[in-house]
Symmetry: C2
Subunit: 226 residues, 2 copies
Amino acid sequence: MLVAVDCIIFGFDGKELKILLVQRHLEPELGKWSLMGGFVQPEENLKQAAARVLTLLTGLTNVYMEELLSFSEPNRDPVERTLSVAYFAFIDINKYEQQLSTEYHAEWFPLANFPKLIFDHNIMVQKAKARVQYKAAFHPILFELLPAKFTLPQLQSLYQGVYDVTMDKGNFSRKVLSTGLLVKQAEKDKASSKKGAYYYKLDKRKYNANFHAVLNIIPNPDTLYI
Amino acid sequence: MLVAVDCIIFGFDGKELKILLVQRHLEPELGKWSLMGGFVQPEENLKQAAARVLTLLTGLTNVYMEELLSFSEPNRDPVERTLSVAYFAFIDINKYEQQLSTEYHAEWFPLANFPKLIFDHNIMVQKAKARVQYKAAFHPILFELLPAKFTLPQLQSLYQGVYDVTMDKGNFSRKVLSTGLLVKQAEKDKASSKKGAYYYKLDKRKYNANFHAVLNIIPNPDTLYI
């Protein structure tokens, strides 16, 4: 059996939650949109294969990455039976764009609206999104997607993108500040509104210690069990 | 690459948390203790393969089972490169023992004290235990290991086995009853003590709705992040 990895790469540009897709450069399904993936090489384990694929595409190393699930329906690849183990990764899009590679015809799409993908890749994205919703309900992992300094409207957009909901601005600010995880900065972001929005930074010490702090931010966490 | 599944099968006999191991019947490592596993067949996906392996060994179907992780170090199997995807399963040992199969030389061992296993199987058990600790901190999954009627001392033994801690009896009872998930029965179990211990049943409706109810039972949940 062939063994491959596929990467569901999430990014946030300050406004929208996005995924990074590539245009497939081989048959079958040449030219169709796809997750970035590759076959596992003799000298590497699967996590190393996924990290290699991610670096090839983005130039980035040391990215937050986690194993999702295996995908193994006998006919999922029409050419030859291929098991794929999917990994999901979180990228700060602004960092990524400094090292854009055009070789793979990569493009960021809004998670809310992206093309039909080859094989079972749409199911992979759906499962990855569910896993992120689940983990982010209990742990502040979404901060991996943000730059060091961010505003509350940016953070709210990110949560809205992950959970497919619209949140009340006042409510969200109150909940998120009550976690005690954020440190207000003196500067404001004045690009997005006339009045401006204060920047915040994550308190890394509390981030590591404050296990339940994000629990209250999420609407209807009882629907997330996976 | 060969592709296999391995099953980490947890059971609880009312006193101790255990795992089900088999004595390996082929080379290499003939006669050594091992997780139950098998190669994936052409017509099945990996979850079906794991379910087949579990049924072969225990006779049980419809067992709680979940994909853990893939194990893919290039030299993990000395004969030929083999990727293994590990699944963990929860079994009520009493149900299992009605259908004991001797063909595989299977034996239950206490999770606190079991033999060294072949290949990377000890790491699989360790990772499975960490995943169970993590999930059980947020969800009442441990009830999958119990019979329909159980006592509070049994439930406490189970939690102690999963988290490697000794809990205060009064504290544990108070916390677990405050979840509102348990329904007290009229009967007592008189086998374990002179005074006897009331049986409880899980309220399945609340089990499905009451997402955070088990959170307070676990000591130091902040150490469980995986």
